[in-house]
């Protein structure tokens, strides 16, 4: 389409307009650290843990770390889409539980693992859709609605399961959890695929721009004809979809569907998004940032475990890191 001659003057003027600061100036600029908090944090943790406990850097441990991070990465992506619209999805971990229970029950009823997985994802997507619908149609704050669905689907999960875990003995899920392709296990590939698709959706589609516009200034976006309500509903539905994928990975990992909410998944998904430099006020987001944030949180837990630090200290460490990140974020450009 464009000839080089077309682009040359533009590229030249753009280069002249945005002069590059020197490396030293960059390193002294707090907003640099804010934008790259998750990368800096991850590199820092890898160095510290690598020195303190060389096993941390072994191929086997790094593979295990990535495997353990896959679920959180997928959930952080869902949470990112919601937070980009200036919302928050507190029902995310509960949706994972609901998806897992539905997967288990449908499979136990003899419908086959494929249908069970599809129904689980449909159910969690429906939860997300419902969140978005109530928030936009009812004009109720995101926080309140998703807190409500958190409680509602916790109850629904208990009712459906009778409070009992369901064993899921499926060769498909077993292979999903333990098989690998190339250097990574299948769950890692699922997470990588999710990152790529989400990145393209956010940066290379109209939906992505409209999502950020809705999160930035919903009223202005609406005045330009963007259907902000639909965008919001779509964001929550994506969040639900991610919860469904995470539910499949979770059931594959532990071999059963537990009627229990892993609250640290919810907190860590928000933490990963914050670490990833995504504004909680909406309007600016990336996918790579939260994904690296999720890796960083997983590395933290992994490293502390290798150093024989009691599991009781892990939430404390995660909390400290998140608050620190939030403080650094204040210097974001």
């Amino acid at each position: 389409m464009s000839t080089p001659a077309d682009n040359a003057p533009a590229a030249h003027s753009a280069g002249a307009e945005e002069s590059r600061p020197s490396l030293a100036a960059l390193l002294l600029d707090p907003s640099f650290w804010a934008d790259w908090a998750s990368v800096v944090g991850l590199v820092g943790l890898v160095i510290v843990f690598g020195i303190a406990q060389p096993v941390f850097l072994s191929v086997a441990n790094l593979q295990a770390l990535l495997l353990a991070a896959a679920i959180l990465v997928v959930l952080s992506i869902g949470q990112t889409f919601v937070i980009a619209t200036s919302g928050i999805d507190l029902s995310l971990a509960a949706a994972v539980m609901l998806g897992a229970i539905i997967l288990g029950l449908v499979n136990a009823a003899g419908y086959g693992i494929f249908i069970a997985c599809v129904l689980a994802v449909l159910a969690t997507s429906a939860v997300g859709f419902l969140n978005g619908l109530i928030i936009t149609a009812g004009k109720i704050p995101d926080f309140v609605v998703t807190l409500g669905t958190l409680s509602g689907i916790t109850g629904l999960g208990l009712i459906l399961s009778g409070g009992e875990p369901t064993m899921v003995g499926s060769t498909f899920l077993l292979r999903l959890a333990s098989g690998s392709f190339g250097p990574f296990g299948y769950p890692v590939w699922v997470a990588i695929a999710a990152v790529i698709v989400a990145h393209i959706a956010l940066y290379h589609t109209r939906f992505g721009v409209h999502l950020l516009a809705t999160g930035g200034q919903a009223e202005s976006a609406g005045a330009l004809g963007i259907r902000t309500n639909r965008v919001k509903i779509a964001a929550y539905t994506i969040s639900g979809l991610c919860a469904g994928v995470a539910a499949i990975l979770l059931v594959a990992r532990i071999g059963s569907a537990e009627p229990q909410i892993n609250t640290s998944l919810l907190l860590n998904s928000v933490a990963a998004v914050v670490l990833g430099g995504v504004s909680l006020f909406g309007g600016r987001a990336s996918i790579l940032g939260p994904a690296i944030g999720a890796l960083m949180l997983t590395a933290l837990v992994n490293g502390l475990t290798l150093l024989n630090v009691s599991a009781f200290y892990q939430p404390l460490a995660v909390g400290a890191i998140v608050v620190l990140a939030a403080l650094i974020m204040r210097y974001q450009k």
């Binding site: 945005e18 589609t205 721009v209 200034q217 004809g225 963007i226 504004s279 309007g283």
Partner: protein, 254 residues
């Protein structure tokens, strides 16, 4: 109920009759009849809170009027949302709803009108094309911004206003609606915007201009409509009025 100056439907690019809009108990405006002639600059003046912005927003689909009829380009056309109005050929520079701070200049210029490239069932943004277009849109109107890749948050009020005007006039609309387009601008920028409005008029683009500046309104417009406390109080030809008469009409002293 009839408009003060009834003009034949074919001459009106946009017209409304009996239009009302209330917000809960607050009446923004009631029973308003208004027309803008094709190819003319039509001004709307009135004191703060008279209902000008709400009227404009009700014309272009941002608000849904509670009652009344709306005609655009000879057809009965209530716009269910701003998207329909934009597709019909109306671009608006809103008073307070101009740009998205967190998006770049180029993204703002093409917001909800993005250029896409289709690959199978998917459509991907053609960012290169949009940046190229954005540069030429800005340079055609000699608008200076540091970079089109910059977030608009860091631009000055005047630059932001210039960009939202650029977005409205750069797309070949039939009707451009501007709600106080020079309110935030300096002398030079105001002169630029006024030149731009004249150029639109030369290109037979219809313009609706909301302004508090009576001199500006008399310089630029063909017809002036006066709102007072939620009513359409009067309408006069710009060539047949004086600044004193406009003041009297706005304050209700006439």
């Amino acid at each position: 109920m009839s408009a003060p100056h009834h003009i034949p439907a074919a001459e009106a690019i946009i017209a409304c009759e009996g239009l009302s809009k209330h917000f809960g108990g607050i009446r923004a405006f009631t029973d308003v009849a208004f027309q803008a002639r094709r190819g003319e600059v039509t001004a709307v003046i009135g004191d703060n809170g008279a209902g000008k912005s709400t009227l404009v927003r009700s014309l272009v689909g941002v608000h849904q009027p509670d009652a009344g009829d709306l005609f655009f380009d000879g057809q009965a056309r209530p716009f269910a949302n701003p998207d329909e109005a934009r597709k019909a050929g109306i671009e608006t520079v809103h008073q307070n709803l101009a740009l998205i701070d967190e998006l770049t200049v180029a993204q703002n210029l093409f917001l909800n009108r993005e250029i896409v490239r289709r690959i199978g069932p998917f459509a991907f943004l053609d960012r290169k094309a949009m940046k190229r277009e954005a540069r030429s849109m800005l340079s055609r109107l000699s608008i200076n911004v540091p970079s089109i890749n910059q977030r608009v948050r860091r631009l000055s009020g005047g630059q932001r206003q210039a960009i939202s005007i650029c977005r409205a006039v750069g797309s070949g609309a039939k009707l451009v609606v501007m709600d106080e387009p020079t309110a935030a601008l300096g002398v030079q920028e105001t002169a630029n915007v006024e030149a731009l409005i004249r150029r639109l008029r030369e290109q037979s683009v219809s313009v609706i201009l909301v302004s508090h500046n009576f001199d500006q309104v008399r310089r630029l417009s063909d017809q002036i409509w006066v709102m007072r406390a939620g009513k359409m109080a009067a309408t006069v030809r710009a060539s047949e009025t004086s600044g004193n008469e406009l003041v009297a009409l706005v304050t209700g002293a006439a």
